[in-house]
Symmetry: C2
Subunit: 263 residues, 2 copies
C-alpha cells in the first residue's frame, strides 16, 4: 500500500439494511481518486459504537485519510463522534466553537438549545468543527500522527457541500502531486471473456494502468461491453499520452477479435 | 452480537472508486434483514486478493453468513475465488461441475473454452458451484464450521436471480424463526432534534424496536421528516401489535411537539 491510502466509512443501519442506497461512498471514492489518493475500500457499519471503533482502529495503520459520513445528528443512534473518540483514545468534550455553530443555527430558527441539540457539539478533544452551511450538525476534523480523519453528516447535500468547501482544499494541499487521465468507450459483438484475452496481453505492455470491462446487456442480440481505462502519472502530458496509446491498442485488439467499437 | 450475524462484501475498484453506485449491498442487506439475520455491515474493497482475504478472515469469527458480490468473471482482476481460498485456507482446484456449467454456456454460443473462460470454474476445494441462469460465471457456495459463505457475480441481474433462486431458500432453511414488522410515515413542521426527544423517551418503553428519523427536505418552508420503525419478534402477532402501539405513541408524541402527521 502506498503513502496516500484512504478509507471511506458510511455509518447507519439504514444503509447497511438497504433502506437507503449508498451514494455518499461513490461520491467520496470518486473525489478521492481524482485527488490522487489510493482508496482501498468503503466500510458501511450499523450504528454500533464498538463495531465502528473496532473498524476505525483496524484500518488506521494503513490510512493517510479516513472519511466517515453519517451518525453526527441529534438522535440517540448518532454516535460517530463517540466512536471516533473511542478509536483514537480521545476524551469527548463540549467543543465551544461547535456549540457556537449549533446555537446560532437554532437561534436563527427561534428554537431553544435542548440536550439533543447540544449533543451535536460534543466532539473528541482536539477536533476542529467543520461548518455545515446546509444543515445543523458540524463535521469533525482530526489530525493525528500525520493522518487526517474527517467525519461528515450522512445527508448527501450537507456532506457534499462540506466536502467541497472544506475537505477537498485540505486534501489537495496535503495530497500527492499526481495527474490522472481516463477514457470510456463501448464495444459491441465481443463477449467479456474474449475482451479479457486482449486486455491481459496489453497489461504486460502497460504496467501502471487500470482497465475495467463491464457487460452492459445486449444490442440487437449482440453483447455490449463498456470499457473503462485510467492511468495516473506524475505529469499530465505523460498520463494523456499513455492513455491515448493504450486506448488505440485496446480498440485494435478488440476489432481484431471481432468487436465493433461504438464510440 | 447474536447467533445469526451476517456480512456483505462488494468487490471491485469500480464500486470503491465511485464509478458504479453500490446497489447490490442494499439489495442483499434488505433481503438478509427480512430473513431475520443481523446484518452488521457491508465492506466494499478494491480487487486486491490480500486485502479481500484479510477482511474475510477479520469478520469470519463474528459471522454466520458472508455474502460477496463481484470478482467472479473471466478478467485478470476478478479474484474473489482466490481470496476466499486464501482466507479459508483452502486449495484452489478446477471444479468439474462448474466447468460443465461454463462449457455448456459457451458451447451454446458456439465459442471455444479459452483459459479465461476455464478460470471461472476454478473454485476453492469443497465449494459447490451456484448455477448462473443469466450470465456465465457460477457462484460459489462454501460451508465451514457451520458458517455459510456465498460468492455471487457483481452484475446485479445475475446476482439477484442467483440469490432468489438458490441462496434465499438456503438461508431461510438455516435461519432464525423470527417475524418482522415495519412502518413508515412522514411528519411535517418538526425539526429532527425535536423528534429526537420524543423518540428517546419512547425507546425506554419499547426495548426491541428500531426507530430512524430522516430529514427529507422542506415543504412550504417547513421541515419534513421520514420516520421508519421496525420491530422483530418470535411471533408475527406480537411484532404487529408492538409496532402498532409504538407508531401510535410516536405520532401522539410528535403532534404534542407541534408536528403534523402526513400519512
Amino acid at each position: 500500500m502506498g503513502e496516500y491510502t484512504a478509507w471511506v466509512f458510511t455509518i447507519g443501519n439504514e444503509v447497511v439494511h438497504g433502506r437507503v442506497i449508498n451514494t455518499n461512498s461513490a461520491f467520496l471514492g470518486r473525489k478521492l481518486v481524482l485527488l490522487g489518493y489510493e482508496v482501498l475500500g468503503n466500510i458501511s457499519l450499523i450504528d454500533d459504537v464498538d463495531l465502528i471503533s473496532k473498524f476505525l482502529r483496524y484500518v488506521l495503520p494503513d490510512s493517510k485519510v479516513i472519511i466517515t459520513t453519517g451518525g453526527l445528528g441529534p438522535t440517540y443512534d448518532d454516535r460517530t463522534s463517540e466512536a471516533l473518540a473511542n478509536a483514537l483514545g480521545l476524551q469527548l468534550e463540549l467543543n465551544s466553537e461547535a456549540l457556537e455553530m449549533v446555537k446560532r443555527k437554532y437561534e436563527s430558527l427561534g428554537l431553544p438549545l435542548t440536550k439533543e441539540r447540544v449533543k451535536m457539539a460534543i466532539l473528541p478533544k482536539g477536533a476542529k468543527p467543520i461548518p455545515n452551511p446546509v444543515g445543523t450538525a458540524p463535521g469533525i476534523h482530526l489530525e493525528i500522527d500525520g493522518k487526517v480523519i474527517i467525519a461528515l453528516p450522512g445527508v448527501p447535500k450537507e456532506m457534499e457541500v462540506m466536502f467541497e468547501g472544506y475537505v477537498e482544499p485540505l486534501l489537495k494541499s496535503i495530497g500527492p502531486k499526481i495527474f490522472f487521465a481516463e477514457r470510456e468507450f463501448e464495444v459491441r459483438n465481443l463477449p467479456e471473456s474474449s475482451a479479457a484475452e486482449v486486455v491481459n496481453k496489453l497489461l504486460r505492455k502497460y504496467p501502471n494502468v487500470y482497465v475495467k470491462t463491464q457487460p452492459k446487456g445486449t444490442e440487437l442480440g449482440k453483447p455490449v461491453l463498456t470499457v473503462y481505462v485510467c492511468v495516473s502519472s506524475k505529469s499530465k502530458e505523460e498520463a494523456e499520452s499513455i492513455i491515448d496509446s493504450l486506448v488505440k491498442d485496446l480498440k485494435e485488439g478488440f476489432i481484431g477479435s471481432g468487436g465493433i467499437i461504438n464510440h
